[in-house]
Symmetry: C2
């Protein structure tokens, strides 16, 4: 080995840590542990029988093209299906020129960093925000500026005053990163009026908005709120990131970007340098799922499945949690956020919980400013309803023990 | 759209061009064109019947895990199969800890850039070298230092004198990038003694070697030369990049890295930030191809297929090419390199050739120093034997017309 291996690493590599969540997941894979830690879909949501049928069809009818290199932008039929889907939701201005296929959402986040961030560039994010995004942006030397959320998402007054403060210093963040639907980790959803406010501020300060939207279609209750991309009317101020991981299968590693063609062009160039193209085989299988009307029915099945899991969990919170514990009430998605009394530390709670065979993710990893020590992210999609209830019971016991230790 | 879109792009994005080859491919997709331009496998090399059988088996027996998120390092069985394969080739020191799965070789090249290059860092490459690697390294601001090749690959005297010159200036390149087997684009193979020399120089100057090895198993003639990784004895001075794209299917977007565990650790962290994991579904299908002994038989089929295509092409060169044209004689791989007389320009030839319905890639795009105007890369794997012969006839006609235009 070269003598100076650690020194020759790039600044990017020197700054990279192993993902706290993915490393944690390894610890929590003992079968006796009820894990609320990951963000995994329920395996029951995978349409295996239809996958059998469709794989056989794709290989028989289009096998050679499926096994070959594909275009960097993605399989044209899939881009058109996604565009049509947006048009069906009222975004009449979307065409396949606004869509490029990526190797799941994490690649979009990587490209946001690659395309927009020089080392030291600032960007705006929510407090808390998705760890995978912070990690991707950080690897390009991006510097997060966190804006607190209330129950409607990013606080617009604080956002505006922060942007004004930066502007007074001659600084302009590269983009505002938000997760408007069923936020990861907080579970909050921005109502339409909040979206309008955030977009207006972004336009006033001439800053792009990145709308990360992995869970939007997993709505259990309430009315869909218009996308930021929709509210912008396709003017190019918003870049929306979609993924098949939560509404189809994460094992396919497929997602898409919805953006202005100028942005799409930069993403395509980034993709040529990073992985050339996303698997044509998997894209063609996905196309057939849409064509045979299996796709949307499966999304509905997932929504029903997760609604039941969330309700079971919320019921258990109400039944078991001691006083002083609060939680968010997501209208969809995979996560909710739990807060224990100020002054208590979820890291201490974590060791108690692991002893009682229940796991979660420390909320603090989602706060770019190190706050949130008394918070945790709870996933409700992976475990069964019964496990969700039993896990909450164990977690409540753990919190009671923490209370006791601290004389509460 | 924000008013300063082009200005807010990162330095990386500002420097990115669309891949000359991939854009060219679009131009050459007219059905009447015989294209030697791409680097595509023959679709006849795809084992579609076996794929049918194995997809059905994987979905039936392991479907849920195949559709779920996988570990960032890759499916353990696949890592072990690849390690065993290296041990079978005499690299007794390789274990699965030396292997990580990537989303095909282009992702490895991206990671080499991400993990080692700060903007302005130098690296060594061959003249000419693989465009996709130069593009990936360039996107991280890497500065190529090109070392001429002779018929045995990178010239060791020039390499050593360049490294001495850089050292005298207090500079040290981050790595030496070589493609020792059936080089892209030149088609040259380094004999073992040349590999020993290059590795000795690298160790003397304490520099990593990146051994890009996408074609190694496609040897039609001659004896395999020991890998640089093998010659290093697993000491950590060499990082080897492998891919399934040329020996199995590019549509799977799968490759691997063979390296010291310290390097693997940096790659895994990079992958967590860029796409989390490679499709478990496709990895599990690939594992079954090995387990059922379909994989190696298919590689042998590809070797036989491409040997015939290369021989047909070389025969046509000998028959049709006018005086003054020379070509390399690869012992394997997908490409050979053609040189027309000094002073003539292959860009002019390209327009003549397209009129005659034959296409190639300008050799100059592979030279980081802009040389090679009288060279071109010829792919022999994609077209049929008959098309290879007819394409060479058209290309020879085009060269004759170029000669005529320039009074030769």
């Amino acid at each position: 080995m070269v003598s100076d291996y650690k020194e020759i690493l790039s600044d990017s590599a020197k700054g990279m840590k192993r993902s706290a969540i993915r490393e944690l997941l390894k610890l929590t894979q003992k079968p006796e542990i009820i894990s609320f830690a990951g963000g995994l879909p329920d395996k029951k949501s995978f349409p295996l029988e239809q996958l059998q049928e469709i794989c056989a069809e794709v290989i028989a009818t289009d096998g050679a093209a499926a096994c070959q290199y594909g275009s960097t932008e993605g399989v044209p039929e899939l881009r058109e299906i996604l565009a049509q889907r947006y048009r069906d939701q009222g975004l009449s201005f979307v065409t396949s020129e606004n869509i490029t296929i990526v190797t799941a959402s994490q690649q979009s986040l990587d490209f946001i960093g690659k395309v927009f961030l020089n080392r030291g560039d600032k960007y705006i994010c929510e407090l808390p925000s998705y760890l995978g995004a912070l990690g991707a942006f950080n690897s390009y030397g991006g510097v997060p500026v966190g804006i607190p959320q209330d129950e409607k998402g990013m606080n617009p007054e604080i956002l505006e005053s922060k942007l004004a403060e930066l502007k007074a210093n001659g600084e302009k963040p590269k983009f505002i990163y938000v997760i408007p639907d069923f936020q990861n980790p907080a579970g909050t959803t921005m109502p339409e009026e909040r979206r309008v406010e955030i977009l207006a501020i972004a336009k006033k300060y001439d800053i792009l908005v990145v709308e990360d939207s992995p869970y939007r279609e997993l709505r259990f209750t309430g009315k869909p709120q218009r996308m930021l991309y929709d509210l912008d009317g396709g003017e190019g101020n918003v870049i929306t990131l979609g993924t098949f991981s939560k509404i189809f299968m994460p094992g396919f590693r497929m997602g898409w970007v919805l953006a202005h063609p100028m942005v799409i062009d930069n993403f395509v160039k980034a993709k040529q340098n990073t992985d050339l193209c996303t698997s044509a085989f998997l894209q063609k299988i996905t196309v057939k799922f849409f064509q045979k009307n299996y796709f949307e029915a499966n999304v509905q099945k997932i929504v029903d499945l997760y609604r039941g899991k969330l309700n079971a969990m919320i019921g258990a919170f109400e039944k078991y949690m001691p006083e002083g514990v609060t939680w968010t009430h997501p209208e969809g998605g995979l996560f909710l956020f739990l807060t224990i009394p100020e002054g208590l530390d979820c890291e201490e709670l974590f060791s108690i919980a692991i002893e009682k065979n229940v796991a979660f993710v420390l909320g603090t990893v989602f706060f770019c400013n190190g706050e949130g020590k008394n918070t945790m992210r709870i996933n409700f999609s992976y475990m069964s309803e019964e496990e969700n209830i039993e896990g909450v019971r164990r977690l409540a016991d753990s919190i009671r023990e923490l209370y006791k230790r601290h004389g509460r």
